[in-house]
Amino acid sequence: MNFLATLESTAFSEWVLTSMLGFPTLIALHSVGMAIAAGLSIFVSLYLNGLLSRLAQEHLPRLLRLAMLGFFLNLVTGLALFVSRGADYITNVTFLIKMSLVLISAISLGWLRHHLMELLTSSVNLYEDSLSRRVSLISIATWVGAIIAGRLIAYVGTLY
């Protein structure tokens, strides 16, 4: 907690909290990153689960790579937002639920991309791999859960 309090007292945290370019810009970019990361993960899952006509399989890991870029944007902006009020966030239950779901989403995303790349190099048809399908469904569920929890941070607890 002392560490979080130290972070909150930095000039950067002050900038995030008081500048018009700080919190609003970071939260806006955070939403763009969310739409890219979750949006592309959702569509890869729709392809893998046969809910859309097939996209050539070599493109699926490429789409997930873009999703990872979206996630990276979220990670950077999310950390900057966290630094400004870390001690408050860390005690907010909704935030902790969101972070747990984001962690599962991120692991699913990274694992799925790695797994699909491995299947491609061993000439296995990605569309016939049931493990990928299941993990991609977990990914959809956790992204949706994380987005809902993220929105509710503003309403549950005393952060805002």
């Binding site: 806006a28 739409a35 979750a38 993960s41 859309l52 006509s53 996209l55 493109h59 873009l66 992204w143």
Partner: protein, 157 residues
Amino acid sequence: MYLDKFAWLTDTALAEWVASSAVVWPMLECIHFVSLCFFMGGLFVIDLRLIGFYRNVHSAMIKQVLYIVLAAFSVNFFTGILFFAGNTYKYIDNPAFELKLLLIITAGLNALFYKLRLSHLLDTTQVTGLSVFVGYFSLLLWAGVIVCGRMITFFAR
């Protein structure tokens, strides 16, 4: 803009419902955000084809994705109207909201241009300078829509 002409919405039963409890507004926001992800994901799939990220796609698949994109847009449009009705004065004379509407209209015209002049490319593996421009422009415009949407709160009177 002339959004003050819609101030009468605040007196409707719809507005009353949106503002009626502590649950409705957050619930609508959750729907708006989840739908946004479906929208942007589908948009990426289509625009990446225009850009040439991949070329060998079936036009039937793009059509399926387009239906999802349109459905997600409809959900966001509808929830957006509910937000506007429920807290009209947050949106009137709000530069972030006005810019968001302007960007949505521009993105709509960009999509119309794609439909009229470029959709035939989907039956080929061709990518043109114009299709690359339209694809990137679309992604940029919609990213701008998200940014402006998030900024509305900070520019409210």
